[in-house]
């Protein structure tokens, strides 16, 4: 599964499973030294593997939890 910063790249390349993250380029897992926030991104990516009723390619938007 792919953590994807550039949505238009995912739309062009169509990897099997992509999680589009709304962060700045260079910040794919949200923020430095923020373990919980990084885990939130990883958990959303892992869940792409566990959902069986998707048809490839899968592109899901990550929704950060507003603190």
């Amino acid at each position: 599964m792919t953590v994807q910063l550039l949505r238009s790249v995912a739309e062009r390349l169509q990897p099997p499973r992509s999680l589009f993250v709304p962060f700045l380029h260079g910040y794919p897992l949200d923020a430095p030294d923020e373990g919980k926030r990084q885990h939130a991104v990883l958990e959303a990516a892992l869940q792409l593997l566990e959902i069986s009723d998707f048809a490839a390619p899968v592109l899901v938007d990550f929704e950060p939890v507003v603190q």
Binding site: M1, T2, V3, Q4, L5, L6, R7, S8, V9, R12, L13, Q14, P15, P16, V21, P22, F23, L24, H25, G26, Y27, P28, L29, D30, A31, P32, D33, G35, Q38, H39, L42, E43, A45, L46, L49, E50, S52, A56, P57
Partner: protein, 160 residues
Amino acid sequence: MGEFSELPLAIRAMLGVYRWRRIDPVPWAPLEKPLSESRLAIVSSAGFVQRGQPPFDETVLGGDFSFREIPSDLDVSELVDFHRSKSFDHTGMAQDPNLAFPLDRVRELAESGRIGSLARAHLSFMGSITAPGRLVRDTAPAAASTLVADDVDVALLVPV
């Protein structure tokens, strides 16, 4: 947020004529066992190398298409950024390499049982490759073989 519009004009112009490669049909491999029994590897193109490994070579025309194996038990402070692109802010990755190569995070996932185990070594690429033919033909199959030989079930791709 990350989009073409935040990239420098020269990069946007290059991406406008870039020959995007796509596999058709889309390869689809369903998970064959629970994640809690699966082995995971990180595949990141953040350009990190382990201190002491050869750096990615900025002089390679079309971008350095090699990869590095990063030991799964490495301290993240031993990762050094050799990504050649100047089009994005490297500050975050320098402060915390987990931002683009989440070694600590995946170790925590394995410790908690969310995933079964980690690969012996994760893979690091340098993401600014404008001529990917050699990557596609030679390096990517070699990298995939490395993961297959290590019984990796899941690859976490973090393109940068």
